[in-house]
């Protein structure tokens, strides 16, 4: 049999290729560059490739193609929007990652060992985190645009594996950090096994691994429904795990807490976009006609997720954990966007993902600022009176929290409103009501933090706000501006989204 050489549309793939290229350069830099120059070079390479990729995405924003890579990658409006959001989020997260204080000098060394201390003193700070990030970003870019099972699976792994490692790189509380990495890895692998198994049955059902093939099988209704159902449920397990929906959420609080905060920020924001992007594409295109089967379960999961997340967050005493649970709750809200299964739902989800991502990065960025001699302070009780110590940081954090809570004039409110109205439009009233009620519960713990910061007096325990570099401040300020701008004048973005938000099949 003769093979025909694959036809690739490099322009459309360029954003991802650029990132991979940058990543490889990063690896080489790590290997051969002198330790003095390494950090700055890595940073510039990373930022450079991210910006380049962003530019590329902007340039291809109006191109549409099902055959960017022999039909395994689809580039359409939503794809562009998701990739753009991922890149922007990554850019501002990189600014946080650039703070070397957060990362262990030598991941391979034993915690507290001579080796580690030496590496630290000699300033022999390894910077593998940058290429890892780029690989992860590349994976995230690929995940929502892949249009066959292989690509989907590969992309999933490409985005996951670097994250597993990054989770373990924290400089302080390394044991916890490594534990986080372990948990994340084992559970991630576990869930991707489900994912793969589901993929196998979809293949079995439709005798095709391309989305279009599966979709036409679903539409046609030919084939063994049992396979389809097994396929859908197991594939969903893999995806729901990534987005952190109950009961597949268990990893996220631990990992969010254990991982270095910049990584948490990156992970919490970007992974959600990638995973939801993929979900949106799969459920809106591939499974759309099988809605009868999955919609009810997804509704239940969504409700459980938002209620659980909001409730458990109340009792949290650790900022990062609290944010983790709040992100679980938000996963629930985002699921309503998928349940909606209409254009409004797609637009709303895309807006929500972007807005939420920005706010999340901002919030974690603030977390990196509150420190004492031993590093970050994540114990909420020690955040008391932050508003007195450094009002602006506190105000920024308050803004992010209010946006999470969905108070009007913040991006969070527009997001909630649009996604709920989309869900209501599709008749999923129960989800909307559950969402509204759990928002009420959620508001409670966000406000508690605000009270803590502004209305309780500071305790003198060396907790202070120190800004590592102007990069972090850029992130915070940028996120704050976007959060408010999207709340007050969302019109331009919304229009931009609604122009592009149509899946091509």
């Amino acid at each position: 049999m003769e093979f025909s050489s694959p036809v690739l549309n490099y322009t459309l793939l360029s954003p991802m290729l650029i990132l991979l290229g940058g990543a490889i350069i990063g690896v080489l830099v790590e290997a051969f560059m002198s330790k003095a120059l390494r950090p700055i070079t890595q940073l510039s390479v990373t930022i450079g490739s991210l910006i380049l990729a962003l530019v590329q995405v902007w340039r291809i924003r109006n191109d549409q193609s099902l055959t960017a890579a022999m039909g395994s990658v689809v580039i359409d409006g939503p794809a562009v929007l998701m990739q753009a959001s991922i890149l922007i989020i990554s850019l501002i997260s990189i600014l946080l990652i650039a703070d070397a204080q957060q990362f262990t000098a030598l991941a391979a060394s034993l915690p507290g060992s001579e080796e580690e201390r030496h590496a630290l003193q000699s300033g022999n700070q390894v910077t593998e985190v940058y290429p890892l990030t780029l690989f992860a970003v590349a994976g995230m870019m690929l995940f929502p645009v892949s249009s066959d099972l292989i690509t989907l699976f590969v992309a999933l792994e490409v985005l996951s594996l670097p994250l597993y490692l990054m989770a373990g790189l924290s400089r302080r509380r390394r044991l916890a950090s490594q534990e986080a990495a372990l948990k994340y890895f084992l559970l991630g692998a576990f869930s991707s096994a489900f994912f793969l198994f589901g993929a196998a049955f979809l293949y079995g059902y439709s005798s095709s691994i391309s989305f279009s093939g599966i979709r036409s099988a679903v539409v046609g209704g030919s084939g063994n429904d049992v396979f389809l159902l097994i396929g859908i449920s197991f594939l969903s397990v893999g995806l729901l795990f990534k987005v952190g929906a109950v009961p597949f959420h268990a990893w996220s609080p631990d990992v969010y807490q254990g991982a270095p905060t910049p990584v948490t920020a990156f992970m919490a924001a970007a992974t959600k976009i990638a995973a939801f992007g993929a979900m949106l594409r799969i459920y809106y295109t591939v499974f759309a006609n099988a809605q009868w089967s999955w919609s009810p379960m997804l509704i239940i999961i969504a409700i459980i997720t938002m209620v659980f997340g909001s409730l458990v967050a109340i009792a949290q005493r650790d900022v990062k954990r609290m944010l983790a649970y709040s992100s679980i709750a938000h996963a629930g809200f985002l699921l309503t966007g998928i349940i909606a299964l209409n254009k409004a739902g797609l637009e709303a989800s895309l807006f929500y993902l972007f807005a939420y991502g920005i706010t999340t990065v901002g919030a974690f960025a603030v977390v990196t600022l509150v420190r004492d001699s031993a590093g970050e302070v994540t114990d909420l009780n020690r955040w008391k009176g932050l508003g007195k110590r450094s009002p602006w940081v506190a105000i920024a954090f308050a803004t992010f929290l209010l946006s999470f809570a969905g108070i009007p004039l913040t991006s969070g409110f527009i997001g909630k409103f649009s996604i709920f109205s989309a869900a209501y439009e599709s008749g999923a009233t129960s989800v909307v009501i559950a969402g509204v009620l759990s928002s009420a519960v959620a508001a409670f713990f966000y406000i508690r933090v605000i009270v803590l910061m502004f209305f309780t007096d500071p305790v003198e325990d060396g907790t202070s706000v120190e800004i590592p570099s102007s990069l972090t401040s850029i992130t915070v300020i940028f996120s704050m501006i976007v959060t408010i701008a999207l709340g007050v004048f969302p019109a331009p973005i919304l229009d931009f989204i609604s122009n592009l938000a149509t899946f091509i099949r």
């Binding site: 699976f153 594996l161 534990e179 990495a181 084992l186 096994a193 993929a199 293949y203 691994i209 609080p253």
Partner: protein, 99 residues
Amino acid sequence: MDAANYLYLSALLFTIGAVGVVVRRNAIVVFMCVELMLNAANLAFVTFSRINGDLNGQVVAFFTMVVAACEVVVGLAIIVTIYRSRRSASVDDASLLKR
């Protein structure tokens, strides 16, 4: 012989693997169980490819092996670091982060 039996087998292997993940303490073993699950999936793919009479399934199987290999690299790296710092490969010891 009926290809469906291979599916039952793969389902069985998958379940064994999943149960193994839940019950075994040693990180390495847990990881091996995950590998078992992946291979169960592979078996399913191959079987289906046989049933459907095209090669896609087998191609997938190859990809999966590669991916699995990468996972091994990352996984072992993490497990080894944990082992070195904790002197134990039991996943139950690693429970600092909870509630």
